[in-house]
Chain length 172, copies 2
């Protein structure tokens, strides 16, 4: 799995308490997580492309969640960063070799591919059931009161307000 | 995921009906699946290292299952070929940056890492519950009667008998 998934989920968790329209600059997001700016930028672009965050002024602008935290699952974020291809890829090996199964008999997936696909569905369903709002207090509230105070001060110094999205002009 | 997993599971499924001590040469395994011999060899070596198959004469010799098919799960095979590292790797990003959580407060895993770990456990448990014996008839019996007959002939021409494992001489 792309190691950017960890950064992306943490970035979303950091944005989650801010409320509609309030966000953080790319520099603040990278700084908070102690990761190089270009790496953070890559994840934020992928999150933006997937409609999970919105940005006000290109990739150096501020980022805010595009939906409420209870409507963003860990699966959404994982998929945005890591892609949606299944981990197990069946190359239809059963159709090769001296005893190849005829193509016409291969309409249903092979029992092996079907088993891996069931396992991946169980994985996906579990991550889909966990929303940003579920992990929020654990992630931002962990540590002691002093840490909490430090975070609040950091938020105060860094949170920006993104301009409202202009409603699109109706096509004439 | 390593694409060798598909070949490895299919190879084990092909060995599964043979009964104790009966096996197939590496050349036969590669030929049956229409994959290059060195690629097949790599998977068989990994399966051998994990104790899932045994071999009689090095990597060019015959391979047989080392345990009955009902004692080999898809998870065993996946893990043998793909390794056992978790897909999600937590780099403890929470301990970095200006609001780093103190190390002493990080004894429990981060809520994000814990969520991914629960999902991977669900994936693992599902693959662990599926044994070679469960998928056997689906894999070898798929296709029509003609295909089945072709397979039986192929088995007849290729199955080899592996010498019994000699019991180790007791340490003196
Ligand atoms: S043919 Fe792809 S897993 Fe069986
Ligand atoms: S610190 Fe690694 S996932 Fe949270």
């Amino acid at each position: 799995m792309n190691k950017g998934v960890e950064w992306a989920v943490h970035a979303c968790a950091l944005l989650a308490p801010l409320g509609a329209g309030r966000g953080l600059s790319l520099a603040a997001l990278a700084d908070y997580h102690g990761v190089p700016l270009p790496y953070m930028a890559k994840q934020m672009q992928l999150l933006s492309k997937a409609g999970i965050v919105r940005t006000s002024r290109g990739h150096t602008g501020g980022y805010a969640l595009a939906r409420p935290p209870q409507e963003i699952s860990l699966w959404d974020i994982k998929q945005a960063v890591d892609g949606s291809a299944p981990a197990f890829r069946c190359t239809e090996i059963r159709q090769k070799g001296p005893c190849a199964v005829p193509r016409a008999d291969c309409r249903a997936p092979c029992a092996i591919a079907a088993a891996f696909s069931r396992a991946e569905n169980a994985y996906r369903d579990l991550l889909r059931a966990i929303r940003l709002s579920d992990i929020l207090s654990d992630v931002t509230g962990e540590g002691n009161a002093q840490h909490m105070l430090g975070m609040l001060r950091w938020y105060e110094a860094n949170v920006t307000v993104l301009p409202e999205k202009k409603p699109k002009a109706p096509a004439s």
